[in-house]
Amino acid sequence: MSKPASPHQSERGAAKAGACLRVVGLGNPYAGDDSVGLEIVNRLRARGDCECELLALPQAGVELVEALENVEAVLFIDAVSSGSPAGTLHLIPLPSAEVEPRVLVSLSSHGWGLAETLDLMESLGRPIPRLALLGVEIGTVAPGAPRSPAVEAAMGTVVERFPAVYAFLAAAEKTGWAGPLRFPPGDASLAGL
């Protein structure tokens, strides 16, 4: 993955030809920790120096097709629930047995999710970019609840260490990254990236 010549930012999936890495934040802004993907994208946008395209998709349906257009690699950032302590970070190449299809389907409020999007792109013969998931282990998703402190801390780590995440993903094709990485709460170094 080469570095983009002119990084830009976008609210949603208005794909720009030539983009290298697109970060797509997913989630529900009104459901506690489920907002984590959207908020990380907002903070990366505020950071202003991310060499990638940033998209926030609070309601990802068929629009996910556009989020996967004209790009080399896509990093989804979303809430995950695996039983790990809240705030644990999971960096997983997709598709992966680590991520159940039903979890992917839940990306859509009307039953259209990433799994359906990938199937459709395959049927259409469209190229599918390399995909990865940065999952943030959630605490609460109660409607209207604030994000839990552990998730807030994890968000801070992701935003601060995003250049390392970007560099890792940029090199992933050469390094042959294939397995999930986990970072426990409080591991602000993201050691290994």
Binding site: A14, Q59, V62, E66, L124, G125
Partner: protein, 440 residues
């Protein structure tokens, strides 16, 4: 072309149950019981949880209403915003400028485009072409699916410019818009609209050549009607049975009632208790002459006889409206003058008002009572899908006897196809399909 459902079932008792309706928005199912070929019971089981939006709105400031009601639906948020702002403006005695009115119409065009393109190509076309999903259809018809995706994308892009984002737009307010786009922003989409007109005319040709079952119930069609333009945001509510009323009279003529098997209310005519039909087919049948020129020409030459009482031809009506929406969007952009200011001032006072607009799926009625502090005291929302539920059940009673000789999966599929003619948005209305058929 048409095909006729075959004769009644020789089996004495059959139960049809579709556990989950697919390719609709929201969750519901269908139960039917048939005795000796006679349909005894049909129930659209709407088990999507009730959503209580009308209660949420109580006590909120009137200016919050369009943002809250937009959350009712991710497919048709503009419709909820439009009906709510018009109803509250009626309550406050607000008159908007012609420029704001035109911009609201453009916003509605964007929603019709994205919603109609989605339904035609990704939700309903697989029914007619014999596929279980758009994904399966895409393998054999990639050109058509790509066209549908692009048609939808242009609508999304327009919605993003006008509304600030493509889903749940945030620019709409009572009195106008928080921010109006610059003319140059809209002109960037001009070539897309020109392409969209041609692509949607091709869509009319494509869907009018599909095979439609020979099914023509005696419907009462209901829609808005405007003397000068195809209905979207205002004017009277009319029907093919002679209704011609102001929106304020809606609740006198149309009643909602609770039914045990549904978390959504069902609507009916107040005087005779009968079902009625809202949506694109109703709009075209009642407003054909108001279509934009190329949309009208496409409708006239597509081989369908209008008015049509065949609900399966709703896909053609939707395609004709796709042409209309693209055509009107182009005209509105060409004539666009940025409203300055983008919203009119509002003097808060107590009042009550109602309005109806044309959501992609049909008439959407709102009524609000606002107190002298500008807070909502009462809200009533009647979505188009809730108005169509009783009609869907009536359709199933008429349609089932003709298909009972088919296998259970075939019956279930045929019932789902029939329901999808209405493009139901169950999520909107709760406040789809599991099928069970009992036969005796």
């Amino acid at each position: 072309m048409t095909t006729s459902p075959t004769g009644p079932s020789p089996l004495p008792l059959r139960t049809v149950r579709v556990e989950n309706l697919s390719r609709v928005e929201g969750e519901g199912g269908l139960y039917a019981r048939v005795e000796n070929g006679v349909v005894r019971e049909v129930k659209l089981d709407i088990f999507e949880p009730p959503r209580f939006f009308e209660a949420f709105l109580r006590g909120r400031h009137f200016q919050e209403v369009p943002d809250i009601t937009a959350r009712i639906c991710g497919i048709c948020p503009v419709a909820y915003q439009m009906s709510s702002v018009h109803a509250i403006e009626a309550a406050m005695g607000v008159t908007i400028t012609p420029e704001i009115r035109a911009l609201r119409r453009l916003l509605y065009c964007a929603e019709w485009i994205e919603s109609h393109a989605l339904h035609i190509y990704l939700l309903q076309a697989p029914d007619f072409l014999g596929y279980d999903s758009a994904i399966a259809m895409a393998a054999d018809h990639p050109k058509e699916v790509e066209q549908g995706l692009r048609l939808k994308k242009v609508g999304n892009n327009l919605l993003e410019i006008l509304g600030g984002r493509a889903t749940h737009p945030v620019s709409v307010c009572v009195g106008g818009f928080y921010k109006a786009p610059r003319r140059a922003e809209l002109l960037k989409l001009r070539s897309d609209f020109e392409w969209g007109i041609e692509a949607s005319i091709a869509t009319v040709k494509l869907v009018s050549g599909l095979k439609f079952p020979n099914f023509n119930p005696d419907y009462e069609f209901v829609s808005l009607s405007h003397p000068d333009e195809y209905p979207m945001n205002e004017r009277r509510i009319v029907s093919s049975a002679g209704v011609d009323i102001e929106p304020a009279e809606f609740e006198r003529v149309f009643l909602e009632e609770h039914v045990e098997h549904s978390t959504a209310l069902h609507s009916k005519r107040a005087d005779n208790g009968k079902s009625y039909f809202v949506g694109p087919l109703a709009r075209i049948n009642l407003n054909f002459e108001k279509l934009m020129p190329r949309a009208k020409q496409a409708a006239k030459t597509c081989g369908i006889t209008w008015p049509s009482k065949n609900p399966f031809q709703g896909i053609v009506a939707r395609a004709v409206e796709l042409v209309h929406a693209y055509e009107e969007a182009l005209a509105l952009v060409d004539a666009y003058q940025q409203p300055v200011p983008s919203r009119v001032e509002i003097k808060v006072h107590a009042g009550e008002g109602s309005a109806a607009t044309e959501a992609p799926r049909g008439v959407l009625y709102h009524r609000y009572r606002i107190n002298d502090q500008g807070l909502v005291e009462f809200a009533k929302i009647v979505p188009p899908t809730a108005q169509n539920y009783r009609r869907m059940e009536d359709d199933l009673r008429l349609y089932l006897p003709g298909i009972l000789d088919r296998s259970e999966p075939e019956i279930a599929r045929a019932c789902e196809n029939l329901i999808r003619n209405y493009d139901p948005c169950i999520s909107c209305s709760t406040h789809f399909l599991k099928l069970k058929l009992d036969r005796e």
